[in-house]
């Protein structure tokens, strides 16, 4: 039985810290590379005795710490100066002194997490409970009060007899061989085990069920809904107080809301063309608003350049071009009448555009007309 097993290492147990330090020194001196010392606690001077190179984990901390600082600074700058620029307390958008606490905390957090994760999972390759030393009497002893040394069989200088003699000369109290566990060597992790799949399924059902319940049900129960359902009249709600049953009230008769003067020329486009004067001056701002509104509401049928080139590919009748002599000779007020009342198949745009926006659109249409029918003098 034993002969079938693969040898992992030859181990020796020592009783005192002095002996183990001495033994480690000697073994490192002899040129063994794949050996390790196991002690119940860190023994002073052992790193030198084993001739270990200094730990490299300090670099991990340095790199992740600095990236934490820099990452925090960049994201704070991006959030408060670019993505969400709001002046608070009269401070500049990028107020460096106020970022120091958060930068410091992020530095500490990222360095600590990275260092520990790097140690456990990269340097030590944990979790590893299948190492041949686990489950041996040797491990029991070195975890408690003995000091062990182990030379691996794959060390180029490994020679059982020689090492046995060396250990004896160093006053080892016990010497024994440790083999790989065949069961663990041949063990294959099966992912598609029914138990595991069932576990995954249960986890998925529980997670999604909890998420659904808490987001779609719980938040609508007492007392979580108390902000949503307050004892007050909401818009569009039925009223038990007023005779007409409406929760919302009509304004007092004859009230005019700001910016909503009634249109006097309904059905009289020519009169409107005579009487109405464009109050919105042609400026960069009004043209910009006009362009935005024109592109949104007018261009689907009239086209971006007002040539009557609809983007709707004939799904809706194409309107005439706005560069015709007729439209160019119309006054601004006459166009305003069309926007307000509609014309032929074109509906009214009063619900989409305010009065000022309509005038801005007209200014923009004028600009388009002039651009497409430019004269030599316009270039100057």
């Amino acid at each position: 039985m034993m002969s079938e097993k693969i040898l992992y290492s030859l181990n020796a147990i020592f009783d005192t810290p002095d002996e183990i330090s001495h033994a480690a020194e000697k073994i490192a001196e002899k040129g063994y590379k794949k050996f390790d010392v196991h002690t119940p606690y860190p023994v002073h001077g052992m790193d030198d005795a084993m001739r270990l190179a200094p730990s490299k984990l300090g670099y991990v901390a340095l790199i992740f710490g600095l990236s934490g600082t820099l990452g925090a600074l960049l994201s704070l700058w991006w959030v408060s100066a670019i993505d969400y620029p709001i002046v608070i307390g009269g401070k500049p958008l990028f107020s460096f002194p106020a970022y120091i606490p958060v930068m410091f905390e992020v530095t500490v957090l990222s360095a600590s997490i990275a260092t520990v994760l790097a140690m456990l999972f990269v340097f030590f390759k944990f979790p590893n409970n299948s190492h041949p030393l686990h489950g041996t009497g040797y491990m029991k002893k070195v975890s408690s009060d003995k000091y062990g040394i182990s030379i691996q069989a794959d060390d180029p200088k490994f020679n059982e007899e020689e090492i046995r003699k060396l250990f004896e000369s160093l006053h080892a109290s016990e010497i024994d061989l440790i083999f790989w566990d065949n069961e663990e060597l041949n063990h294959k992790n099966k992912i598609l085990e029914p138990k595991f799949l069932l576990f995954l399924l249960a986890a998925a059902v529980i997670t999604s069920g909890t998420a659904y319940f808490s987001l779609n049900k719980l938040m609508f129960m007492v007392p979580f809904n108390w902000m949503m359902e307050q004892q007050k009249q909401n818009a569009q709600q039925k009223s038990l107080i007023f005779d007409d049953g409406f929760g919302m009230r009509q304004p007092v008769a004859g009230t005019v809301a700001r910016g909503y003067m009634p249109y006097e020329f309904k059905g009289q486009p020519d009169l409107a063309g005579e009487k109405l004067v464009n109050p919105v001056p042609i400026s960069k701002e009004s043209l910009k608003i006009g362009q935005q509104k024109y592109d949104t509401f007018c261009s689907p049928c009239h086209g971006y350049h007002a040539e009557g080139d609809s983007r709707l590919r004939g799904q809706y009748p194409n309107p005439p071009t706005l560069h015709s002599d007729k439209v160019r000779k119309w006054s601004d007020g006459r166009i305003f009448a069309v926007l307000t009342d509609g014309q032929n198949i074109m509906p009214s745009y009063s619900t989409q555009l305010t009065v000022d926006e309509k005038w801005a659109v007209i200014n923009y249409v004028r600009a388009l007309q002039r651009a497409l029918n430019a004269k030599e003098s316009d270039l100057q």
Binding site: E105, L109, S144
Partner: protein
Amino acid sequence: MSTGDYTKELSVIEGKPLLRDLDELISKPLETKPDKKFYIALSITLSMLGMLVIGLGLTFYYGIGMWGNNNPVGWAFGIVNFVFWVGIGHAGTLISAILFLFRQKWRTGIARFAEGMTIFAVFTAGLFPLIHVGRPWLGGYLFPYPNQHSLWVNFTSPLLWDVFAVSTYLTVSLIFWYVGLIPDLAILREKATSKIKKVIYSTFSLGWRFSNRHWQNYEMVYLILAGFATPLVLSVHTIVSFDFAVSIIPGWHTTIFPPYFVAGAVFSGFAMVQNVLIIVRKIFNYEHIITIDTLEKMNKIMLLTGSMVGYGYAMELFISWYSGVEAEQFTFLNRALGPYAWAYWTMITCNVISPQLFWFKKIRRAVPVMFVIAIFVNIGMWFERFVIIVTSLSRDFLPSSWAHFTPTYVDVMILIGSFGFFFTWILLFTKALPVVSMVEVKAVVDGAQPTHKEH
């Protein structure tokens, strides 16, 4: 060990216990069934925890109006308790990180327990900002994350710094604690006889095998974490003090707050560690691990930090007079002579006068006396936060907006309940994990390290 060896006087563990016996002693509470005393203690803390649950239930159902908070005293017990519990946590990090950097070997016996207390105290502290927002299920908005509202938090606000400081502190403390636990869990794995225990300890010890190639990196990481935790713990209470110092309320707007808060935090934290350890060492027979010398050293730290806090009080008074700002002068007179004078003088008695008894060596080494003094210190430090927060808010610049704060029964229930929450964690901890680090204690026993040879 020969006499005249310098390591002799550094001996921090009394006697020269066998390493194996230390393992047995420390892991005994985990291997035996809890006794009657444990269940009595647990039932007391659970009843207190029940008060917290009822208090929070009332708060969530009816709203923050159940508390005594009013306008202008918008921050009362909620924030007092928060600052108090965060402060309690600071001793743990001080013991585990700062004393580690100073190579104070006496910390080994108490470090694990103090770190555990840090974590539980920060848990307890974390409850309060969360319940103070009124709708704790919306607490996620405290953290900056790209959300569907396209909103970001205000990075220039001390309250947001607090979110970062406290959550970083909790995370780093947990990591530090867990890293310290790994070798101990491996010891328990080797000792475990039942299958379930073996699986649990194997899982959490991650396959630790006491290799010196690991110890080398492990010690490096421990040093790095201690190096990070030290400025971190100073930053946490500094930032907590910014919550007040950055505002313009008289009595809050002072530059002395950060150092004075940190000193106060260490002061109250040591008092709490002291109180709990005195009970633990008695119950678990750890008198030779947590020695009277260790307790005396802790008393010296309490004397030092207590005097720093006392200096802070004196300096606040002096500066308020020296600054010539009428509102500041009034605030401090109001604290000492106004409607909350009883709280102010409780604070002075407990924090400034009672630790001065530690000048006497006899008192420093008398366990019952130091236990009582530590309780006084805890009471005093709670009142310090009460005095700072409530007196300043209740009477600020405009007399027309002054109002008196009186706590309601819900406030009191939540305060008592927070102690129940904390001590329930502590009790479960004593039964679930080794409360003293076996590895660290073994490393400082006499004869555990190689004798020094001349090279």
